[in-house]
Amino acid sequence: MVFGLRLFPEQASSIARQVDLLFLFLLAVSAFFIGLIFLTVIVFAIKYRRRSDKDRPAPIHGSLPLEILWTVIPLGLALVMFGWGAWLYFTINRPPADALEVFVVAKQWMWKFQHASGLREINALHVPVGRPVRLTMTSEDVIHSFAVSDFRIKMDVVPGRYTTAWFEATRPGEYRLACAEYCGTEHARMVGRVVVMTPEEYAAWLQGVPAGISLAAAGEKLFQQQGCAGCHLATGAGPGPALTGLFGKPVKLATGETLTADEAYIRESILNPQAKIVAGYPPIMPPFRGVLSEEQLLQLLAYIKGLAAEQKAKAER
């Protein structure tokens, strides 16, 4: 801060420093070229100012070597910038495998969070420092965007689909969370905070807040209530395919296609089961669009994901 002026946001996540470094590189290149152009223009304007109305400067048509020079050099620099940026983009978009899972539902104009423990928060997200956090996000109405500038992350939250983002906070403190995609009247006030705590504080906080049942357990309850369990038997012998160990695995469809059972697939198969029928099973499941809320969908998703993790753990044992 200089005279109340902040020139750089805080570096509060694992990628912040990398983004700033790239930014500084771009800034240096830009400053060089802006300086070069401004200086040349000013020098030429003064040095070659019109001295007499009778001036008739000799024509210059151009210079191929110069044209090549000022095409190739910017092109080279551009490719370096592109490559560096692309590399960083992959880092920003690839969450580490051991990340803490948090589900986000955005609506006009608030942020709703569900932790795997079943803990729910509104407009505040508590996370431990030094631990990657993976966000699975969707919206109940319009497009929003999850932005924490101190972490240098931003990801749109789109109705009808899941988007993901991740961050690893490196410094305890409170950071401003805001909606970055214009979403209507109170878009400006769709803000919240990300509270980063030391592991001890985090553990204490978890203890202090009544968590209710875990997200996966809530999902399991829904799984029974909605009658899913009647068909999707764990053995696979029922009229619906078994869901144990399904998540993240390839699925063979009746059309002969094979796809990976990811979040989008599971979401679609609940809301609109007829869209992708698993090979060998009849298309009899009713659609659940309008029956389940976005939050309930996330609970079911957590449950189905959990089944896969359980099976994996068992296998490892």
């Binding site: 802006i34 152009i37 304007a45 024509p59 044209e67 940026g85 983009y89 497009i143």
Partner: protein, 544 residues
């Protein structure tokens, strides 16, 4: 003296004084003037809304407007400025006036269509203004679904209809220019002799023809979704709102080049004239306009790096965005090199042109931060973007428009404006612009998000600076309005060629006669053959 001669001559302005003769004119020059009047109305609307926005952002809690009122204000600003001022500004005013003159034609290829495009423009504008005055619209100029198609309860449909109609005006103008440039060039005016202004308009016309219909369709679907509930972007039916963004930016990114390419054409003319030199690397400057138009169609996805599109799509769009930067860089280097060993005269149009180079360079280079996948995630939807595109659209496009208006004002009106005032205004514009928008880069990097009526208190200092700068910028626009209007009555007669510029338009009297040329000119030189121009004081036969 010459004032007397000026008033007696019959020209396109005084050939007929009746209002009817203006409203039914098919003269491209008069249509250019009609456009100038129409877009001035929208500029005032856009500028006043900008002033209100800046005043409101004076305090973190919003000094004037909150919630929907603020959202309607920035939407009004964006919609009027982009669709009703920037896109038609140079092509429809200067392009209409100058293209036939520059290529030695008596008119554009389809004069009646040209007039029709003006009426279509006015009709679309009227719809939009009615929408604005009967409740307004709060979707921003981007009309993102599903907010625009389902959730907003403001006048979206009427505005969408207005924008849709205006699109046709753009298409008709582009079509007219394309055919005019292809078919109506004077004998001897080969493609390699075309002024760069004409090349730039050729590239612009291509974008108008290819891009406008796509956004027209996208906006139409939003309108249909509101009225008939057809729901192509409705997530509840399985529709994908991201597809709207694809269609929207497929046009709206090239639309940026509709705004900037003509300005680049103007700057080429100005730099050459006031350096009395050929444009350095003419072929490269001309080809780079086409390259921008073509590659510009392949970069739209860089607006959507955080929309959830695949990372590989992001890679391709980022790479192409870097490629489209190269032709712009080539232009800037060539303009600069044009002044080398030239004879540089500091008239107001040149000052605007140099201002353009500076501001466009900053705008273009900051674009590299946004084309960059790594930094864009942090920067997108912040004031960094706002600053960047204002550097391109205001610093670039409008500064170029001001330069062009000052350059051809003597040709259009036959009058000169005061030198001192015009130079001062050009400088003021440059200073005011930087004071307004440079702080916004810093705000953006610090995470101030766009389209918010309230912001964290630590951003206030820079916002106050920006608002203060805007007042200087406003003066930079107001002063020219005053002295240009003054010059209409009191300005000195300009004579056919006050700048001793090359180019066919300067061989006609100022203002030109209704039929442009008494005899179809025959072109024997390349554009900007300044070394061939006669020395001042040795008037050619036929010169005043």
């Amino acid at each position: 003296m010459s004032t007397v001669a000026f008033e007696r001559k019959v020209n396109y302005l005084n050939v007929d004084h009746r209002v009817r003769s203006w409203l039914l004119t098919t003269d491209h020059k008069r249509i250019g003037i009609l456009y100038l009047l129409a877009i001035s109305v929208f500029f005032v609307v856009g500028a006043v809304s900008a002033a209100i926005i800046r005043l409101s952002l004076f305090t973190p809690e919003g000094a004037l407007l909150h919630g929907q009122a603020y959202n309607k204000m920035f939407s009004l600003h964006g919609i009027t400025m982009i669709f009703f001022f920037l896109i038609p500004s140079i092509p429809a005013v200067l392009g209409n006036f100058l293209l036939p003159l520059m290529i030695g034609a008596r008119d554009v290829a389809f004069p009646r269509l040209n007039l029709m495009s003006w009426y279509v423009f006015v009709l679309g504008g009227t719809f939009t203004l009615i929408a604005a005055t009967t409740g307004g619209v709060d979707t921003g100029w981007t009309f993102y679904a599903p907010y625009s198609s389902i959730y907003s309860n403001t006048n979206v449909t009427l505005t969408a209809v207005g924008v849709f109609i205006t699109g046709f005006s753009s298409i008709l103008t582009g079509l007219n220019f394309l055919v005019t440039i292809h078919k109506l060039r004077a004998p001897g005016l080969t493609w390699s002799r075309l002024p760069l202004f004409v090349w730039a308009h050729y590239a612009t016309s291509l974008i108008m023809i290819l891009g406008t219909p796509v956004v027209a369709m996208a906006i139409l679907l939003v309108g249909l979704e509101r009225v008939l509930h057809i729901g192509i972007f409705d997530p509840a039916l399985g529709g994908d709102p991201i597809l709207f963004q694809h269609l929207f930016w497929f046009y709206s990114h090239p639309a940026v080049y509709i705004m900037i390419l003509p300005s680049m054409g103007v700057v080429s003319e100005l730099i050459a004239c006031f350096s009395r030199k050929r444009i350095f690397g003419y072929e490269f400057v001309a080809a780079s306009s086409l390259a921008i138009a073509v590659i510009g169609f392949l970069v739209w996805g860089h607006h959507m790096f955080v929309s959830g599109q695949s990372v590989y799509a992001g890679l391709i769009f980022s790479l192409l965005s870097y490629l489209v930067a190269i032709p712009s860089a080539i232009k800037v280097f060539n303009w600069t090199a044009t002044m080398y060993r030239g004879s540089v005269a500091y008239h107001a149009p040149l000052l605007y042109a140099l201002g353009f180079i500076g501001l466009f360079t900053i705008g273009g280079l900051t674009g590299l931060f946004l084309a960059n996948l790594g930094t864009d995630v942090h920067l997108t939807d912040t004031y960094f973007v706002v600053a960047h595109f204002h550097y391109i659209m205001v610093g670039g496009a409008i500064t170029g428009f001001m330069g062009g208006l000052h350059f051809w004002w003597p040709k259009i009106t036959g009058r000169l404006y005061p030198e001192v005032w015009s130079r001062a205004a050009a400088l003021l514009l440059f200073v005011g612009f930087n004071l307004t928008f440079f702080p916004q880069f810093i705000l953006g990097y610090n995470g101030m998000l766009r389209r918010t009526y309230t912001y964290p208190p630590e951003f206030q200092v820079l916002n106050v600076m920006s608002t203060a700068g805007a007042s200087i910028l406003a003066a930079g626009y107001l002063i020219p309005v005053i002295y240009l209007l003054w010059s209409l009555r009191y300005g000195q007669a300009a004579g056919p060629n006050p700048w001793e510029a090359a180019g066919l338009e300067w061989t006609t009297p100022s203002p030109p006669p209704a039929s442009n040329f008494d005899k179809t000119p025959v072109v024997t030189h390349e554009a900007y053959a300044y070394e061939e121009a006669p020395l001042p004081g040795v008037p050619e036969v036929g010169r005043v």
